[in-house]
Structure formats: structure tokens, C-alpha cells
Amino acid sequence: MKKILLIASLTGLCLTVIPSFLVLGGKISWAFHSNLMMLGMLLWFISAPFWFGKEKDRSE
């Protein structure tokens, strides 16, 4: 389960940043990039709270 969450989170971060470089290179439109960023945001916030920073909290 944790692996799936990790993959979802990383996909979220990739969807946040990679499309902007495709806009810079003229490969995709700004509107498409904006939608992908929104999708990335949803993926990150749905998956990251279940694993991100949890181990650190326990060690504190």
C-alpha cells in the first residue's frame, strides 16, 4: 500500500513541475499545463499525508 501511495505522490510532484517545461518548449498549451498541475496537486494531497514526514514525527 505504501508503495502505491509513494508512486501516487511522486506522480503528483512530476505532474506539478514537468508540464511547465513542456510549455516552455512549446509542446503543450498553458491551459493543459494548468489542468495537469491541478491533477498533480490532488494526487499529492491525497497520498502524501499517509507517509510524508511520519517517520520523522515518531523520532521526535
Binding site: 506539478t16 508540464p19 511547465s20 510549455v23 516552455l24 498553458w30 496537486m41 510524508f52
Partner: protein, 461 residues
Amino acid sequence: MSGNSNRLAERLDAMYEFDREPVAENKLQGFTNFLGLYAGEHVAGTEFILGPLFVVHGVAAADLFIGLIIGNILAVLSWVFICAPIAVRCRLTLYWQLRKICGPYLTYIYSIVNALMFCFLAGAMIAVAATAVGLPFNMPMPGLSDVYPGSISWIVIVAVVGGIVTLLAILGFEKISRFSKICAPWMFLVFVAAAVSVLPSLGCHSLGDFWRVANEKIWTGTAVEGQLQFTIWHVMFFAWFANLAMHIGMADLTILRYAKKWQYGFASATGMFLGHFVAWIASGILCAAASGTVAPGPIAYLGAGVAGAVCVVIAGWTTANPTLYRAGLAFQIATPNWKRWKVTLATGIATTIAACFPALVMKLMDFVALYGLLLMPMGAVILVDFWVLPKLGMRSNFTEWRKGLFSLPAFISWTGSIGISFMLPLEIYFKALPAWFAAVIIYLLLSYVEQLRSGKEVART
């Protein structure tokens, strides 16, 4: 009077009781924890404003890049060589370190000044979040020279955002603190992505075009009319002193006391170079793409759409919330008969009223410089007390040793150094350096006089 004095000291101590003892060996944290902590802390709501302000102050591209690199390196070195060595030797919070040197009264005054600064910072962050919340309502955005609220809708939205932030601060901030950690990597990428996606609108279609566009369209070297013209010195000193209260001012003793070695101070480089370099550059690009608009909501939306607007709300909210909570905590000492929720509510109302004034955001650079300047001298006092006094045969923590409530040398060096700095014909960004030297000299001389006059054994045992 003496009874009242002791009660104040007891109340103050009770607020910080849980971290009274030095950090135990088994509680020390690894280097990577500090990397994450500093990165998260310095990619915040303020970055959405500071980057654009460099653009409107007419910084030239080369000045910006070189100034930020030098300034951020100086900031990191300040953490490494000034704050961290004392943190790992004493392993105490700033509060308890000051308490030993200055006594509870002066520490209390310092806490209140700090809390007031926190309120203004929280107010600025509420205003930042409001610029994004107002987007769907077509709210008129505050302009660069606006001082007073420009519309009823601005006041209403600031009040709503301030109300929510205050309510959440009343409920506590631990969960929000964890939420802000989760937001940090995503927020940083939003900064980068938003900036990269607007580059084509500035005429940059590949990374090879960047430097030309940076010089011609973004950091042009010409200030907006009515704004101070910045040079490389302004950039360098601002980057160095943006967190003056934290490094030279020693507030980060509280964080770095968990470090295994003083070299962990180098972890601050993540915060400086991700937040105070990449994020400032990114938000500057967004400002240029938005034709000089500095309101964070619209510029983030321009670059990243809905995700950008959400990022601004979250950045403002996660910065304002713990800040407001800590300010409420400090004020509670002054109002012991009030419940904590009442104090936080009152603090939140005052902060929200302050947030209605756009000047708080538009003059953020001046505020950040003032914030550091007001708190920094206490860091100089700690430095001298810890390193210099014992070397001159004097006693460190003299006020604690004589069971005093107030250190006059520390008070005079604090207020005197600030007074001297304001008399100097320098811009606010440059006042901190002479103020630091003034604080060091005043504290050294007055400590010598105090310990000499005490007629007691002053040699360090």
C-alpha cells in the same frame, strides 16, 4: 511588589517549562532532519512578495544573482559559526539562554516585542492569502503604493481569512505544522513550475534565452517610479539579514540545540538556496510576466492556474497560523487571568485589522529588516556573554548567578544599539551591521562595570 515580580517570573517560566532542561543525547536529530526543516521553513508565503519587490525596486539581473548568492552564503555562515556552536554547547532554547543572561523581566519584554513582530508577519500572510481567495470574486487587488484598504470586498475577504486563521490557531497548531511540512515540497515545485510556464510570455522559449530575457524584461535595473533603486548591496544585505533574528539574533538556538554537531548549521543552505534564491527568482519572474503586479494571488494564478492560487492560500495560511499561535502564547503571560483562546482571539482580531492595510504587504522588505534589527542585539549579547566574558575573566550568566530579575547591561546594549543604528544615516537594510558592533561593545563595557562593582568573585568557576 516583590511578590508580583516573582509571580510574573513564575508564569513566564511555566510557559516554557517543558523545554527547561538541555536536550538529552537520545533526542538529538540527524542532519537530514535539519535539511528538511530549513527547506520547509524558508519556502513560505513571504517568498511570493519578496521576489516581486526586488523587481519593482529595479535590481539588475546580475546584481540579483550575485547579491543573492553572496548574501545567502553569509546567512548560512552566520548560522554555522555564530548560532550553531552555542546551540550545541548549551542545548537550551533561546528563552532559557536569555533568561540566564538577561533575567526574566528583560526576557519577558523581548518576548512581547517578538510577539508584536509575529502579529505583523501573520497579518501580512493573511493579506497574501486574501489576494488568492479574492480571485473568483473579482476583488480589486491592492497596488504597490496602497496604504489603506481599497475596497469593501478586500476588507470582507481579509476578515474571513483572518477569522479562519484565528479559529485554527485557537484550536492549536500542531496538526497545521504537520500539514505545512507536507505542503513544502509541493509548494516549492509550484514556485518553479509557475515561473517556467510564464517564460514564453516574456519572450523566452528555451533556457538559452533566459539570461537575455532576465536582463531585458525582468530585472531591468530600473525601479518602478516612487520606489527605492536597489543595488547589489541592497540585495546582498537583504538576503543576509532576511533571517537576522534567527541566526545572528540566535532565535534558532531553539532548533539547532537538537543538532549533533555545530556543522549541522550548514543545513540552513537548503532554506536559503531553495527559498531565498530559487523561490525569490521564480516569484520575480511571475511579477514581470504580470506586468509588474505584485499581488501574490493573481501572479501565482497567472503561472499555475488553480494550483497556484491554492498554493498562495496555503503558503499564507501555514505561515500565519503558527505565527499567530506563538504571538498569543507570548501575550498570555501579560494577561494571566485570560484563557489562551481569549488571548489568541484578541491577537487574531488585532492581526486581521492590521492585515486590512496593504502597506503591510507592500512594505514587507522594510518590515523584515526592522524585525531583524529589533531582535538581533540580544543575539550579540548572548555571543559576548558566552564566548568573550569568560575569556576576559568575567562571569557568564551573571544575572542568573546573582539571582537578579533584570540585566541592565543587556537592556542598555539592546536599546542603545538600536538607538545608535537609527541615528546613522543609513537605509534600514544596512543598519543591522553597525547595530551588532554597538551591541557587542556596549554589553562588554557595561558587563565589566557591573561585575567590577558587584565586588564579588567574578572569575569563571
